[in-house]
Amino acid sequence: MTAPNRTDPDASLSLLRRLADDAMDPGYQEATDRGDQRGADWRHSVAFGTVIALTAALVVAALLQVRAGAPGEGRTRAELTERVLETTSSVEAIDARLDGLISEVDLLRQTALDGSGSDRALADEVSALEAEVGVTAVEGQGVEVVLDDGPPAPVDQSSPDLSRVLDTDVQLVVNGLFAAGAEAVAVNGQRITALSPIRSAGEAVLVGFRPLTPPYTITAVGPEDLASDFEAGPARAELEQLESAYGIEVDVVPEENLSVPGRGDLQLRYATKGESP
């Protein structure tokens, strides 16, 4: 059996109690007990005045800083923006270099296949296939579908905000356009290939692993009746439902002259280098 605990019942609060009891610096009491003369020296007065002035300046500086809207925060944001811009420009430079290399490859292939009729036919087949799989840009008439977020719904943590354009909505349009006979489709300038996922990460819609921001412009090049086929298809009916139920803005515009960019960076997964003739 343990001895009854005789310590102070609020011993656990002793820290707080001591804080409050010693609130005034014990040094004042000690100095008085020692019999220190106060204000005996002009240097003391100067030091005292300096400290008071320092306190006032400190408080004013802190107030000004807070009023200035926390420059630290602004600075961080500016730094982040700068880094984003820097990275974006470097990505653009790399993209430009990629485009140059692609056209160089094209040129080399053309010179390599510039011989007999069978070579010519092979070159034609290659460029036709390239347009189809999405390596090269495609131009022509087609249709442009613009999706934009509806008015924000009341916040509900349990389910995603359905007034936003979701990845499935973009998938719906892209699939509908392909079903209507589109030859080439791009979302916000990102060409859809057989290997382009359309998915969401958090609130962003990712197409080909690139995050896009609304409004989503889906450009499709295809036959003359692409627009009418799309309008008549099941995707359009579903879009209308999205429009009426969630306020998502859908805009379908047939265009005479559209350009869908190429993907450019398709890798050859199964092809191997052949024997040179």
Binding site: M24, H44, V51, A57, V59
Partner: protein, 110 residues
Amino acid sequence: MIALLALVVGVVLGLVLQPTIPAALQPYLPIAVVAALDAVFGASRALLDGIFNDRVFVISFIGNVFVAALVVFLGDQLGVGAQLSTGVVVVFSIRIFANAAAIRRHLFHA
């Protein structure tokens, strides 16, 4: 007298010079202000108790500000800067409250 004069000089200096705190010191400014306020409240109470001593005040002021900033700086280096800032602010607020209560009792006898 000196205190009032110094107060006015300090406010005017702060307003006129608009000192920009170096970015590296910015996290410590609020802590320093709270520590300084604590020293001032302690001094006011000592004044009312009749045991004010300017030497103790100057030393406690500088010590308070320096140690508070040092603790937060160490916390930053150890990755617990925010928590230690909270701790420092809590300790100083308790002291300020206690001193303010003592001053209130002195002034209003209530």
